[in-house]
Amino acid sequence: MVRQLRQGGRRAAKIEGETMKRELIEIGTILRIENGPARKTATATPELLDDKVTASHYKIGSNDAMGSPIILGEKMTYLDYYGLWVWYIYKYDDEDCRWLLGGVETTKELALIAAHLLED
């Protein structure tokens, strides 16, 4: 059987809208940085919803990345699996008992700096 692997982004092999992901760095016990696709917000257009631009599970009527229905002409949030990945910074919240987003940076070095600033 002839198969051809489609390009799914710089660091991700596309698997029908899902992705393989990696690299998590822990700083002490309350800080983490981890890379992943950038979370973006834009107006839902046929061009944006093209499977070559955004993952195939972003379709009119289905959920966007925040769980809201995608409506043509309205704002939607999506994970940009095909673009450059970013570094998310998380800080553990003792009251909420979960890791909360503390920032986003474009490089690991900037994320490490930003994470250490959150230590204080």
Binding site: V2, L5, E18, R32, G36, R98
Partner: protein
């Protein structure tokens, strides 16, 4: 060298090569979370956005996918633990061991309100790799 970039230039790929990532998911992707948003990372899948989880999930496959490609099937899940209250809109499968990783995520077939302390179930669903179009 990034192996994936090399593979992109190939015209032919044996099924075994398609199956490798699926087999990795089957072997190590043993945790499923239901989430209130689409997680971008393992941390978001298992903490920031999780509303519940089930560990020790099992698979059937890999097998041919319709209309093309290869797939693995996540077996039906019962007895998942709901740990938060909210609306679950996505699922996420992760590798929960020392070298943690988020392996796959997608929208649920339908959003579901959940309450902490309850349990959740999911019907079987596929994770697939399509052929090129």
């Amino acid at each position: 060298m990034n192996l994936m970039n090399f593979l992109l230039d190939l015209v032919y790929m044996n099924d075994l090569l398609y199956d490798l990532p699926l087999q990795e998911i089957e072997t190590s992707g043993t945790r499923l979370d239901i989430c209130s948003a689409e997680p971008a990372t393992y941390t978001e899948a298992t903490s920031t956005y999780t509303l519940g989880n089930k560990t020790g999930i099992t698979y059937t496959g890999p097998a041919d996918r319709t209309p093309n490609g290869r797939k693995t099937t996540v077996d039906a899940i019962s007895g998942g633990t709901v740990t938060g209250t909210g609306t679950a809109t996505h699922w996420a499968i992760s590798k929960p061991t020392a070298t943690t990783a988020l392996y796959a995520t997608k929208t649920l077939a339908s959003s579901q309100a959940v309450t902490s302390g309850n349990t959740f179930t999911l019907t079987a669903f596929d994770i697939g790799i399509p052929d090129a179009t």
